[in-house]
């Protein structure tokens, strides 16, 4: 096995194989999948979910769960765009800073409830999910915003290229996504705080006895997810060019499923960014492919559910079990 693959976990390798097979199948079955226009659109669309996934991964590793982040992102969209319009539109840097800050604040609410009141994260975030979403619908009356700051409504295009099937573009969300993934990776792998998060998710009592500040770690994990959610929310506005209060409704479960598919353990202590990215890629590519094949979107949800079930049951443990069985049989045959 090449050196670079050996450093990659079994789940990730398995996902790579499945993704390669699906891509091959789609390239043969459609003539639209393997075009620059489609692949770039897939990337632009998935950028938002990838930013969500990076944030959620941090919370899962720390041993928590959060289902309020998509609702929080909707709140951020609304607040950020409203404030930006008040100050005359601003620019992308001000926008990202604002969205990140508001998102962090909303995440900190979750952290405070979970840490100081010793509540279970799933219960807290179900509550804040309803709270965020309810407040948003109440104050907006469900009305969308179409008047956006200029940089958002025109969109920031980083790269474009004309092809036979139209313009292929890469837009700002892709760059932001790359930066957020890199930052998340850096924190989780290269910074002591990341390791403390892993430790807390792995064995909270052990972490406490080592003197790790569990309160600070909660704020870091949920705050980081809030920050990612805020930024992802703004990037979704950039993609859709409108603020619709329920545009992200239901996104949390899609992202959660993809991250778990990528090997993050519910319960904490285990998960890789590469796995989360691959899990999300698998779901997005399938969705895109079924769309191109003209399959109904309802069937899509069903098929994604099936893929997740199959992939999870074929995950690293099962594979290890299978290879172990084969190895033993070979030994037995060799000895008899």
């Amino acid at each position: 096995m090449p050196e670079i693959l050996r450093a990659v976990g079994a789940t990730e390798r398995w996902l790579m194989v499945v993704i390669a097979v699906i891509c091959l199948g789609l390239s043969l079955a459609t003539d639209t999948f393997l075009t620059l226009v489609n692949l770039f659109d897939l990337l632009n669309y998935s950028a938002v979910n990838l930013i969500f996934a990076a944030g959620l991964l941090v919370v899962l590793i720390a041993g928590g769960i959060d289902i309020s982040f998509a609702a929080a992102a909707s709140v951020v969209q609304y607040l950020a765009v409203t404030i930006l319009m008040q100050i005359g539109g601003g620019n992308w840097a001000i926008g990202l800073l604002l969205a990140g800050l508001i998102g962090f604040g909303l995440g900190a609410i979750n952290a405070a409830l979970i840490h100081h009141f010793r509540l279970v994260s799933i219960v807290v975030t179900i509550a804040t999910f309803n709270l965020f979403f309810g407040l948003l619908m109440f104050f907006t009356g469900g009305v969308s915003i179409y008047a956006l700051p200029g940089w958002l409504s025109r969109r920031i295009i980083l790269f474009e290229h004309e092809t036979a099937s139209g313009w292929a573009e890469i837009t700002l969300p892709v760059l932001v996504m790359v930066v957020m993934l890199a930052a998340t990776w850096f924190m989780l792998r290269r910074l002591n705080f990341g390791r403390q998060l892993f430790a807390m998710g792995d064995n909270p009592e052990g972490a406490r006895r080592l003197g790790i500040n569990l309160g600070a770690m909660h704020y870091l994990a949920y705050g980081w997810l809030g920050l990612c959610a805020g930024i992802a929310g703004l990037m979704q506005v950039h993609y859709a060019r409108e603020v619709v209060p329920n545009a992200l409704y239901g996104r949390e479960l899609e992202v959660l499923a993809a991250v778990v598919l990528g090997g993050a353990r519910l319960g904490g202590g285990r998960g890789t960014l590469l796995g989360a990215v691959l899990g999300l890629a698998l779901v997005s590519i399938t969705q895109n492919g079924l769309n191109l094949l003209g399959v109904s979107p309802f069937a899509f949800r069903m098929i994604v559910g099936l893929i997740i079930l199959i992939a999870i049951s074929m995950s690293s443990e099962t594979l290890r079990g299978l290879t172990e069985g084969l190895r033993r049989r070979r030994i037995r045959e060799a000895q008899s």
């Binding site: 002591n192 430790a199 792995d202 064995n203 006895r209 003197g211 033993r328 000895q335």
Partner: protein, 501 residues
């Protein structure tokens, strides 16, 4: 030996330390002192408060108001875990408190990742540091393997290494030898002496009294959360120490030779490649067969096959004369085989669940009432029955198992298996971490069970334990049975020599 000098000769001095957990008075007005560079033992029965005292000193638990805690004469009450580490207090926890998903190297050198300020992770330095400590301990572990995949003995070594990696002034070792082999124990004892020579104080907790008397200069005895006293070990005997701990004394003698009966379980040429080879063995109803040998000799692997957890590659298992094939441990439980595992802290109990639920989990069908629902009355009757027979010290049966002391958790596991009314009971190191009084209690029960006709396979690496409690002893080495001893016809010294040779 002179009494501790309150004018600052002590490294650590405690007075009037108490700790309550709900209705349990875990510590009651304890005075305790440690001198620089000494090796002190903390002894007492299960649940007497040893681990709780360590948690208070390391900042994990806060004592009740009124406690005096001094470090080199300086007041340190209200200490946090981080401050305790900063003073140089390191702990090898009884439950290890490791991170199972993380690599051996990262667990050992995790110290480097602590702190409230951002810092870069230096994997290379961590590996080097971990490798250096392991070399000092004279053990070889795969540095990048996740700790959760190590055997329990190797995990214990990782926990020891982690405590030695930092600049320590005082190291607490809460039953560090509980699952170590003789060789590893010797290496650890050498380390303890080396630490003490460097001026680092060690507080050692162990239920192996021989060990206690060998390595310590003073021993502090607790009973029921109260201080009995602190004594020099010079001139102290195991019997005297037992008496101080329990307030009672015990006698030991090998079991009288038994008459053979038709075997319940018979193994013929049982083999699983790489684990055990060509095992012939019988266990009859009413017989206690001891299986001893060093750690890694294949004892546990054999037990796992007898319990249907792994499948042998060759040979036959006869059960009451009939060939037995097990696909699953459910088959084993149905036949009447019970297995109390070696790694009971992680495999045997559902920690956050109640003591009562843990006890009845194996026999849920027997506590079902009408409509197939669990009958609370039957459940509490069964639980009370076993818990009193085994003298488990608990607050309420509804308390979580994780609040019990280590030794008492052990007894809950035993209760759980005895509740299945088995025909064959496999006990894998049943007294690891169990105090002298309770050991006697557990073996009295085992003896009683044998009298009632149970066949018992007793696995242990403590020679005296099998010698005084088994009818026959099989000695296993490198996956093979190499000899048989009948205690009534040989001596403990012979057995010890054979095992440690």
């Amino acid at each position: 030996m002179p009494e501790p000098d309150p004018q600052g000769a002590s490294l650590l001095r405690l007075a009037h330390v108490s700790k309550r957990f709900g209705g349990v008075q875990a510590l009651d007005d304890i005075a305790f002192d440690v001198r620089p560079g000494e090796v002190l033992c903390l002894a007492g029965e299960n649940g007497c408060g040893k681990s709780t005292l360590i948690k208070v000193i390391s900042g994990v638990h806060r004592p009740e108001p009124g406690a005096v805690m001094e470090w080199e004469g300086r007041d340190i009450s209200g200490l946090t875990p981080a401050e305790a580490r900063a003073l140089g207090i390191q702990v090898i926890w009884q439950d290890l408190a490791l991170f199972p998903e993380m690599s051996v190297a990262e667990n050992i050198a995790f110290e480097r990742n602590l702190g409230a300020r951002p810092r870069l992770v230096n994997r290379k330095a961590m590996r080097a540091e971990a490798a250096a400590v392991l070399a000092r301990l004279d053990v070889d572990l795969p540095l990048s393997m996740p700790v959760g995949r190590l055997s329990i003995a190797n995990r214990q070594l990782v926990a020891i290494a982690r405590a030695l990696v930092a600049e320590a002034r005082l190291v607490f070792m809460d039953e560090p030898t509980a699952s170590l082999s003789q060789r590893e124990t010797d290496a650890l004892i050498a380390i303890v002496h080396r630490l003490s020579a460097q001026g680092i104080a060690v507080v050692f907790v162990s239920h192996r009294l021989k060990e206690v008397l060998e390595i310590c200069t003073r021993v502090t005895v607790l009973r029921d959360g109260r201080l009995v006293g602190t004594y020099p070990t010079a001139g102290m005997t195991q019997a005297r120490l037992t008496e101080l701990m329990t307030g009672a004394s015990f006698n030991y003698a090998p079991r009288p030779e038994a008459r053979p009966a038709a075997p319940l379980l018979e193994l013929r040429g049982l083999t699983r490649h790489g684990e055990y080879h060509d095992i012939d063995l019988t266990v009859a109803p009413g017989e206690i067969v001891g299986l001893t040998g060093r750690l890694g000799s294949g004892r546990t692997e054999l037990a796992l096959s007898l319990f249907g957890m792994t499948r042998p590659d060759a040979g036959t298992i006869l059960w009451q004369g009939q060939p037995l094939r097990m696909r699953h441990n459910r088959d084993a439980i149905r036949m009447g085989i019970a297995y109390m595992s070696e790694d009971r802290l992680s495999l045997g109990l559902v920690q956050p669940q109640s003591i009562a639920d843990n006890t009845v989990v194996t026999v849920l069908d027997r506590v079902l009432g009408r409509l197939g629902l669990i009958s609370p009355a039957r459940k509490s009757a069964l639980v009370r029955d076993w818990l009193t027979q085994l003298r488990v010290k608990i607050g309420q049966p509804t308390d979580a198992v994780s609040t019990l002391s280590g030794g008492n958790q052990q007894r809950v596991v035993l209760a759980k298996w005895l509740a299945t009314a088995p025909k064959l009971l496999i006990l894998d190191s049943p007294t690891v971490g169990v105090d002298v009084g309770a050991r006697a209690g557990i073996f009295a029960i085992v003896d009683e069970l044998a009298r009632q006709g149970l066949a018992i396979l007793l696995i242990s690496d403590e020679a005296p334990e099998v010698f005084f409690n088994a009818d026959r002893i099989l000695h296993m080495r490198e996956g093979r049975l190499i000899e048989e001893f009948i205690p009534a016809r040989s001596t403990l010294a012979e057995l010890e020599e054979a095992v440690h040779a």
